[in-house]
Amino acid sequence: MNRGTPGNDRQRRFTLTCEPLRADLFRFALWLSRSRQVAEDVVQETMLRAWKSLDSLKDDAAAKHWLLTIARREHARLYERKRHETVNIDDLVSAELPALAAKPENDADADQLRDVRRAIFALEQEYREPLVLQVLLGYSTEEIAQHMNLNQGAVLTRLFRARNKLRERLGLGPDESAPREAAASAKSVGAVIRE
């Protein structure tokens, strides 16, 4: 084991930049995969690859985006292996009941949270992923577009549809207005739709 200064510096850098993001990575992977087992594997592989290629991270401030990009790639790799196992949403929900029932401290609305989690689980991945990136991880629509290799208009459309699907599934009712693909060249959400 290397006990010299470079090794210690590397370990310290990894601890400071990557380890604090483990919870975010886990939640991202969980919502992406809808499987706790896959999520744990994704985080494990992501951290391993991050450690191996830490030198390629030029800016520590970009660690979050860097790790989430690795996690997305690892999920795709693992999902390719396991996709035949996970096709039925009811089976998924049953398998992940502990996760769906998990509640924050002092939360008196466990049933409501469970229903919301089930509704998120039921979303198609193309809608679930940008929503998680935006709502949970604070990504801008531009950052989501880069992360998912989409144009910004497609991201806006998916986010709009994701929320509408959730409103419908949660009994809040869909919105009557439909998104327009013309939003593609938008620089900001509001600017998208002004003609």
Binding site: A61, H65, A99, P104, V116, G138, D175
Partner: protein, 234 residues
């Protein structure tokens, strides 16, 4: 449905597309439409409430999830790595517990700043004053001297509410500032957590949280920024 006046360019359907895609970041036109259209203002509130629910739902406690039975690990060769991870987690967890501030508000502020550490960088860029005003308006505040020292202004979900999250540039480095209109603190709380220094000060009806790597940066932000905050109400 709409009470739109002639001066409002945006239509209701356009507003709802924008609010449904990104309710936390409406541009000036959308905000103007919201002011004029009661139905769309209601729709936006519904979207904001949905987002509050979504944040709470998505933040599944990691500790609960980590309690997966060992037997379910798919690869036997990872037992050693898992055991090592558990040991490290216990050691790190104990260390974090010993070093953590007892006030959960301070801990949550640090966690939020740490999760968005990618924007806490030194830069010469400054935020557009209108964008800063929009972010601050969610908390009912404005800056007396404008945006000269603010490089980023976001609105974030924190404790189930939308709050302004700013990056203030000081001579000692970048500083995270969160205006917490609904978080009262009885007195100034100073803390150290996970390599960050910070303070939460009573201000207006709530408080202002300041977090940075350097204690000097926190001190400078306290004197140059916090005193510039003016509570004007929503």
């Amino acid at each position: 449905m709409s009470n739109s006046k002639q001066t409002v360019v945006m239509q209701c359907s356009e507003f709802r597309e924008a609010a449904g895609a990104d309710p936390q970041h409406l541009n000036v036109d959308a905000q103007a439409h919201r002011e004029q259209c009661h139905a769309c203002a209601t729709y936006l509130r519904q979207m904001e409430q949905l987002d509050v629910l979504l944040v709470r739902a998505m933040k599944i406690p990691v500790a609960d999830l980590s309690a997966r039975p060992l037997a379910s690990r798919p690869v036997a060769g990872r037992w050693l790595a898992l055991a090592a991870s558990v040991l490290v987690a216990v050691v790190v967890g104990m260390g974090a517990w010993l070093a953590a501030p007892r006030e959960s508000l301070a801990a949550d502020v640090v966690e939020h700043a740490r999760n968005e550490a990618d924007i806490m960088v030194t830069t010469d860029q400054r935020i557009d004053p209108a964008a800063l005003d929009n972010a601050l308006r969610t908390a009912g505040v404005r800056l007396k001297s404008g945006a000269q020292m603010v490089s980023v202004a976001r609105t974030c979900m924190f404790h189930g509410r939308v709050v302004p999250h700013l990056i203030v540039q000081t001579r000692q480095g970048p500083v995270t500032v969160m205006v917490l209109a609904k978080e009262k603190v009885p007195a100034v709380q100073s803390f150290t957590e996970a390599g960050y220094r910070g303070t939460i000060e009573p201000s207006g009806p709530g408080s202002i949280a300041i977090v940075a790597v350097s204690a000097d940066a926190v001190a400078e932000a306290k004197t140059t920024f916090a005193s510039e905050v003016e509570w004007v109400g929503n």
